[in-house]
Amino acid sequence: MAVLIPRRKTEDQIAMSKPLGIRVRKGATTLSFLAPALIGIAVFFLYPLGSAVYFSFTKFDLLSVPEWVGLDNYRRMADDPFLLQSIRNTLWMVVVFVPVRIIGAIGLSMLLTQLRRGAGFFRTLFYLPALVPPVAATIAFVYLLKPGTGPVNHFLATIGIEGPLWFNSPTWAKPSLVLLGLWAIGDLMVIFLAAVLGVPASLYEAASLDGANAWQRFRSITLPTIQPVVLFAAVTGVIYTLQYFDQAAVAGSIASGQATVGGGISSNFGFPEGSTFTYPLWLYTVGFRYSALGYANALAIGLFVVALAVTLILLRRAKAFSGEES
């Protein structure tokens, strides 16, 4: 936090000592730089956020006027079985998806630093899937993991394993999404690669002289040094998971084989058996399929509170974000 508030007092004191005219003109220039962004934040973020809070206490659909119902929407959350399921699904993703991706990304970046030859080639190769549009990647994975004809189960059968139903099984649908997320791990890998390469070589040399093996060097040198990046990845990973929508929506629609996205409403979101209903997917369904807009806003406020709490964890470690002193 401290790093975000540098040099404030002296700047203000200097500014105060200047004549009023110059200060006003400087302020106007600064404002001209910031005006579009300020309008954007106000119109497309603060105003809708305020509206969402107000709407969450009302009941209405696309055709009716909001009617004040007090805390009804929040009470309704308590006995909404689909909400409970979507919270469970999103929590599952937070607990499994986020750590698996972080461990995978650290593993890949460590592997890359160990390669004497072709490190650049492999870096590009491992990164490429992160470029594939999520919808395209999801289609590819639904096809790869198709229970009857997909090559993955075909391959598993040849080595004597009966493959699961993947996206068509309530138990395996979320693990299939994790596999998809692991495939597109490139961004995270590049971030960890930069962190791992930033660990001073002298530390490793000292440890080698003390007879530490590779795993000990990783445990006692690499991991502590990149720990702020791990925290950053964990927090942004949780945020990403809280808004996880595209892959879950498309996987459910395509795997069910009879998707009807037309009209913006898929009756196959959550397929199979609601196992891919993430929290935002349920929010979208409540709002735009059932037109329960007041209730959808209450769900949105719930999401806001959780996401804000997670964001604050990151901001308290704002040092990681600043870059000012580096």
Binding site: A37, F44, V135, A140, Y143, I191, S253, G287, F304
Partner: protein
């Protein structure tokens, strides 16, 4: 004398040296084998998709990996029998206009946050981070109502107009980059009598080109891949659909055969991979910039 001094280490070294060398070579082989295995796994989905897209529609329904006969004409047919050209056009319009507008509106804001001192700059930066971090679904319903009241849902406008007013992630990324430009350059320009706008245009912009390239690439890729925005605003009007939306509904709505769906899927990812190879450095630098110092 020198010969005597040189020999002892050479004489005592060989035995452990050879063992270490063999160990190292084994480790080398192991590490590269793992890398190759993972590389193959990473490539498989794309290769499989390409192979499927070259099969006949009947063979695409089987468990075959390898096309019995090759049908590159699938890539022509998909343009003829589906609205793909239309989706492609909408996607290009959305991605290009949004990228240009976002850069125009975000660069000045990022410059002010990085290099100008004003009261509340820290608070504003924290606000930008909050906007960047909070899930878009939080404000979805009010925003949708806003655009519906304006009569613009069903068109691409709700996706393009906000770009006029900056994007939080873009501002954040550009600010991080601009911080790396030494303030001495700016001070020199100011001493020469440049106003802030001229300093930005003449001095900062040329130096910030890599950062701007990275931010522009990210925005372009984001728009190209965007599924949530088009689903929310354009799904009611098929003539405004983008590639992502079209791909997800090809099979169901248009009853397009799978070999053509996969051909369209390959076409959707191809431009991004081509762009990446031309702009790899700006990209990697941009990703590293999104963080934090270890």
């Amino acid at each position: 004398m020198t010969a005597v001094l040189d020999t002892p280490p050479v004489l005592s070294a060989p035995a452990p040296d050879r063992r270490i060398k063999r160990q190292r070579r084994l480790a080398w082989i192991a590490k590269h084998s793992i890398a190759i295995a993972i590389g193959v796994m990473f490539l498989t989905p794309v290769v499989y998709l390409v192979l499927l897209s070259l099969m006949t529609s009947d063979q695409a329904l089987t468990a075959d990996y390898w096309p019995n006969s090759w049908h590159p004409e699938n890539y022509v047919r998909v343009f003829e029998v589906t609205p793909l050209p239309h989706y492609l056009l909408n996607t290009v319009v959305y991605a290009v206009s949004s990228t240009v507008l976002v850069l125009l509106s975000s660069v000045p804001a990022a410059y002010a946050l990085a290099k100008l001192k004003f009261r509340g700059s820290n608070a504003l930066f924290l606000l930008v981070i909050c906007v960047m971090m909070l899930p878009p679904q939080v404000v979805t319903v009010p925003l949708y109502l806003m655009w519906a009241n304006a009569g613009l849902t069903g068109s691409l406008w709700p996706l393009i107009i906000p770009a006029l007013f900056g994007d939080a992630f873009c501002i954040f990324l550009l600010r991080q980059f601009l911080l790396t430009i030494p303030s001495e350059y700016l001070d020199a320009a100011r001493v020469d009598g440049c106003g802030e706008w001229r300093t930005l245009l003449r001095v900062v912009l040329p130096m910030a080109r890599p950062g701007i390239a990275a931010a522009g690439l990210f925005q372009f890729f984001y728009c190209w891949n965007d599924y949530y925005g088009p689903l929310l605003y354009t799904s009611e009007n098929e003539s405004s659909w983008t590639l992502s939306l079209g791909l997800a509904s090809f099979h169901s709505v248009h009853h397009v055969d799978w070999n053509l769906v996969t051909a369209a899927t390959v076409l959707a990812m191809a431009p991004l991979i081509v762009i990446f190879f031309f702009a790899q450095r700006a990209f990697v630098q941009g990703i590293t910039l999104t963080g934090f110092k270890g």
